[in-house]
């Protein structure tokens, strides 16, 4: 039923799209119809696949590195009061800076290859992962910590056996947010300077008035983003199941 309604919505959107194209008679370099886009997608499938692979690699590597860094930082922040006092304000400040503004500098430093795009993806997802996991680690139910204290537990064992498992649902929501943000970071990086990737292909197609190819690339990016979101959602479902409030 869930999928049925999704297909219905997609079908409706396509109809609406075709309707607008037919009614307004807009030239195809302004708004190509869905049929033209589908044709263009099929003719250029090898090209699109090649660029999709690049963007997917940037996003996935960025997601892994950003999540790992976020997890490590959150554990460090949750373990040290001093770190929370000193580092957290810095983190919040850097977050106030639009990450997009850093894209040209990253390209300058890391070049036109994968590095600068991965760095963008890492930067954009680092904060949501760190802050949601750290939040979870700081909200361990008081009673569990009392119990651990009466059991003469050490700091690290309490962290490993109680605080981290109790915070996994928060980590899961952080990673889900990250999966939404990571493609944005990678594509912005590609816009600023790249020779490969879906973002680059979209700019290129746009510049040559191949709007149908641009739409094909855009839709491919959309499908990739949705698939990534679903995959991450499934992968983190186990983490969400262990909330101390549930049971």
């Amino acid at each position: 039923m869930k999928y049925g309604s999704a297909f219905l919505a997609i079908g409706f959107a396509l109809l609406l799209w075709q309707g607008i194209v037919t009614l307004t008679g807009l030239p195809k370099f302004i708004l190509p119809g869905p049929r033209l886009v589908a044709e263009s997608w099929w003719t250029n499938r090898a090209l699109i696949a090649e660029h999709t692979l690049i963007t997917a690699m940037e996003v996935l590597i960025g997601l892994v590195i950003g999540t790992a860094l976020g997890i490590a930082s959150a554990i460090y922040l949750a373990s040290s009061r001093v770190a929370r006092l000193v580092i957290q304000p810095i983190l919040v400040f850097t977050q106030a800076l639009p990450v997009f503004a850093l894209a040209p500098i990253l390209t300058l430093w890391l070049g036109f290859g994968l590095g600068s795009k991965i760095a963008m993806a890492v930067l954009i997802i680092y904060f949501p992962v760190t802050s949601s996991f750290c939040d979870g680690l700081m909200r361990t139910p008081r009673g569990l910590l009392d119990l651990a204290q009466t059991m003469q537990a050490g700091h690290w064992r309490t962290l490993r056996l109680i605080r981290i498992p109790a915070a996994l649902p928060s980590l899961a929501s952080g990673i889900r947010l990250a999966a939404v943000y990571a493609p944005i970071g990678a594509v912005i990086g590609e816009w600023v300077g790249a020779s490969r990737g879906l973002g680059y292909l979209m700019l290129l197609a746009n510049g040559r008035a191949k709007t149908d190819l641009m739409f094909a690339a855009l839709l491919t990016l959309g499908v990739f983003a949705v698939l990534l979101h679903l995959a991450v959602h499934l992968a983190t479902r186990r983490l969400s199941g262990s909330s101390p409030d549930r049971a």
Binding site: P141, G143, L144, D146, L147, A148, Q149, T150, M151, Q152, A153, G154, R157, T158, L161, I162, P165, A166, L168, G241, S242, S243, P244, R246, A247
Partner: protein
């Protein structure tokens, strides 16, 4: 388990300068059950947390000593109204939590024995979410027993259970915790009358001892002396309010 010592708490507590309880002297006789009865907000949980060595938010001016003069916090096991089970861990892992938190190996035979004594042998691999409230509290009791500490501090341990489960849990706990120095903090006069070798009522003015009924602990729910004691305790609580 080492021999259970007696414990004495002497002093007063205040929160931001406002007195929580007046200077008092509370003695837990060695190897016996002491029930500390009081209404909400009189500081009975604070007394228990002070003995545990847990943070209280109140400032305590006084001393807490064991009759053998050795330190107390490392010799206590603590059980609260909330079962405090880890929902992601199996019953077995919950029971041996103390050993895992200290990086020790839990004795598997002892664990199996304790599981059998609380009547949960068939549930060892289940998660707490699959158990009833009474079963979960039995797991918490098993975890407390597994710690094998001479001093047991129970903070309203059965108050979230329904009446019949509570009565059964009181009997089970009284049986399994025999010979240890037990402090039960409770607001339930019936519980104090059933379980206390010593019964102490805490009010803002301090503590008063109440003579316990003659029958051995756990006292039958229909014992007349116990019911009279329960009524007397209720009267004292209402007078203090």
């Amino acid at each position: 388990m080492s021999r259970a010592p007696g414990v004495t708490l002497e002093g007063s507590a205040s929160i931001d300068g406002a007195p929580l309880f007046a200077p008092l002297r509370l003695t837990l006789p060695a190897g016996r059950w002491t029930c500390l009865l009081g209404g909400s907000g009189v500081g009975k949980s604070t007394v228990l947390r002070l003995i545990c060595g847990l943070p209280t938010g109140a400032s305590f001016d006084g001393t807490i000593t064991a009759t053998d003069t050795r330190p107390i916090p490392e010799r206590v096991a603590y059980m609260a109204q909330d079962d405090l089970l880890l929902p992601w861990a199996s019953v077995t892992d919950n029971i041996r939590l103390g050993a895992r938190l200290r990086g020790q190996r839990a004795d598997a035979d002892r664990l199996a024995h304790i599981l059998a004594r609380v009547g949960l042998s068939g549930h060892a691999q289940k998660k707490p979410g699959a158990l009833s409230g009474g079963q979960r509290q039995r797991v918490a009791l098993a975890r407390t027993l597994m710690e094998d500490k001479p001093i047991i501090l129970l903070d309203e341990p059965f108050s979230a259970l329904d009446a019949q489960t509570r009565a059964a849990m009181q009997e089970l706990a009284a049986d399994l915790l025999q010979g240890r120095t037990v402090l039960v903090v409770t607001h339930d006069p019936a519980e104090a009358a059933r379980l206390g070798h010593a019964i102490v009522v805490l009010t803002p003015k301090g503590v008063t001892d109440c003579p316990p009924p003659a029958a051995p602990v756990p006292r039958p729910v229909d014992d007349l002396d116990t019911l009279r004691c329960q009524a007397e305790l209720l009267r004292r609580l209402r007078d203090a309010a």
